[in-house]
């Protein structure tokens, strides 16, 4: 009696297993009454702060704005279709991100995709979105390696400034300010390595002396030994190719140790609005330079309005780098859909690749998959605003040099 029950249980388990595996994956048929956009992005894990600052608020705000108008304009259907945004958490894990993107494409059958955060993530999904033909513009990827494979991933576009141009802009700026001795430290991750790989040789070519060139691990907790060494070396400029966590750490510890070089540059994170508050107010960060620059004063239509809308909606300013690029990529997407007249992903991709689009970061055009509107841009906090101090033509203010001492 017991054995029979055992076998029945087993068969029941197997039936359940089969059911369990196939049922959740049946796709329900969709009538075309809305446009589904999917994104697998870091809601948790080490990339979450960046994603939560630069992309997620812009994605959500854009969807709200579009739906307030009734949706995206689909000329072929002669009407607007509302947008539904599906967000999955990739846990800052590449394997999960790839799997979720495939799930969005294959199971949820989304019409369009929005990218995750960070260079490594973009690397991972670029081949995937190309394989399935989903055009994607990456606002938080900055890597020359991408240029090497760009021809293999025609559906992937990089909209953010690239290390080659940024490095050149930074080196030009240092040269202009007559910097002689430099300390260059970088996070041992794709971002830090690439940027250093571009900046260091440029500095050398301009006859500047890089007396310290060291990397530090990604999840480091304490950089005071390194900073003390730098202080002892008495350099003119300290350049840190850093990610948000180390950017905050370095700034904090430099302030504690009284490391006050004439020029202090850090990487990702300087442009975050929280940066100007977290050390005791905007005075504390006066004169600190960072990657990327955009501020509400730039002469592009819609820029100031975008800034105000962001503040109103999220009670927080957009950051002064990636945010605007993320929003711009959405503007481009919307405009491309309107130009094409439908959600034909191939045509949208071709449109993005060839046309010029007015956005909050200026008129954007892609060449070979990369945005050529925004080459080197470096910013500096001056009186609570992130002014653009490089490239020279784009300046909204003159660079402050030397950096005032810590308050």
């Amino acid at each position: 009696m017991n054995d029979k029950v055992k076998y029945f249980k087993l068969i029941a388990c197997i039936i359940l297993l089969v059911f369990f595996t196939t049922f959740p994956f049946t796709a329900f048929s969709q009538t075309k009454d809305k446009i589904r956009i999917g994104t697998a992005i870091s809601l948790s894990g080490p990339y979450a702060p960046g994603a939560g600052m630069t992309q997620i608020p812009n994605y959500n705000m854009w969807v709200e704005e579009v739906n307030a108008k009734g949706g995206l304009l689909i000329k072929k259907l002669n009407k607007r279709l509302p947008v539904e945004l599906i967000t999955y958490d990739d846990k800052s894990d590449i394997g999960t991100a790839v799997k979720l993107v495939e799930k969005l494409i294959l199971e949820d059958k989304v019409d369009l995709l929005l990218p995750p955060w960070g260079t490594a993530m973009h690397f991972a999904i670029a081949p995937v979105v190309t394989k399935y033909g989903y055009p994607v513009m990456g606002p938080t990827v900055s890597s020359e390696k991408l240029r090497e494979i760009a021809h293999k991933v025609p559906y992937f576009f990089g909209i953010l400034n690239m290390p080659r141009e940024q490095g050149a802009a930074l080196a030009d700026l240092l040269e202009e300010l007559e910097v002689k001795k430099v300390a260059l430290i970088y996070v041992a991750d794709a971002y830090g390595i690439e940027w250093t790989g571009k900046v260091a040789p440029d500095l050398g070519l301009k006859k500047m002396d890089v007396v310290i060139l060291k990397s530090y691990p990604l999840d480091t907790k304490d950089l005071s030994p390194l900073l003390k060494t730098i202080k002892a070396a008495e350099v003119d400029a300290v350049l840190c190719m850093s990610y948000p966590n180390d950017t905050f750490l370095i700034t904090k510890q430099a302030k504690e140790l009284g490391l006050n070089p004439k020029l202090f540059y850090l990487g990702v994170g300087v442009a975050f609005p929280v940066y100007k508050q977290m050390f005791g107010g905007p005075n504390a960060v006066e004169g600190i330079m960072g990657a990327g620059a955009w501020n509400p004063k730039v002469p592009y239509p819609g820029a100031k309005e975008y800034f105000d809308r962001h503040v109103k909606r999220w009670n927080q300013e957009p950051d002064r780098w990636g945010s605007a690029f993320a929003y711009a990529s959405l503007q481009i997407l919307e405009q491309a859909i309107e130009k094409v007249g439908s959600i034909d992903r191939k045509k949208i991709r071709d449109c993005i690749a060839t046309q010029t689009f007015p956005t909050v970061i200026g008129p954007v055009r892609f060449e070979g998959g990369f945005n050529v509107q925004s080459p080197g841009e470096i910013g500096q906090w001056q009186k609570g605003e992130f002014e653009i101090v490089a490239a020279k033509e784009k300046r909204t203010a003159k660079p402050i040099f030397p950096k005032p001492s810590w308050p």
């Binding site: 055992k6 994956f25 796709a27 999960t96 790839v98 979720l100 799930k103 690397f123 081949p127 790989g197």
Partner: protein, 316 residues
Amino acid sequence: MRRAIFEKIFYLVLLFLILILMVMMPPYVSPYTIILLSSIFMYIVLTVSWALFSAPTHYLSLASAAFFGLGIYVSAILGDQLPLLVVIGLGGLISFLLALLVGLSSLRLKGMYFTIFTFGLSELIRHSVQWWEVNETGTVGRWVIAVDNTTVYYIMLAILLITLVVTYIIKHSKYGLALLSIGESEEAADHIGINVNAMKIITFAISTFFMGATGAIMATRWSYIDPSIAFNPLFSFMPVLMAIFGGMGQIFGQALGAAVLTLLADLLLTKLPYYYMLLYGVILIIVILFLPKGLVGLKEEVKLWLRGMKQRYENT
């Protein structure tokens, strides 16, 4: 006696039917199911091969990520120069060789010391590869040649099959008994005449072969890898969790634990993105509280419960 044979034949036929199902499935199910199943196969292989050595001997290794990652890197570096199956074989082979070294060096370590040693080793390898990539090659990540999902599925299925067969054979042979006796008392096993050191090292190495091979094929799914992805400590911890969750003592338990937890994670991740860790943890705790032997304990519990019911029925 007859019932035992009948049972065995029943299970064999069942497994055969499941195998046929798995082989025939791909053209009829959604592409995502294929991807998910490949993931499940991967975790089953990692768990079962980990348990091959660690379950009977009680030497809990936390170095699975090192061997898995090694396979990934073999694929990343040699993937565009050698045919796929060769790469997979190499992934397994190089893991095997590394494991021999690891086994030799850690012979004197026992219990938790061995466990933490293997963890430290895995992390050392991770950071060393990172250092090498940063300083010598100037890159951090690498691209992997992509392979289509159905091919990955079949290869993973094949690796799974081989792993299950090999593990079963070893477990039910005199070597399996030797491993168990090492687990009970290493000294006694030594006195009986078992070459304890050789057994430990070789079994450990065999288990890592499958991990390396799996790494080599699964790397093609991710298209981009770097040291923190390839050598993620999670690949060391999850097999342990999955084995305990499902039931460490039997291969079926280990495989079940891996399959259930992988499926669960996938379901939770997509349906409840903000609470999945919470629910995952709660399920882990509930299962271990009420089924301390793991999921396979369910069979026992149900049997006991049924027996109790039967007795009560007979008593009235």
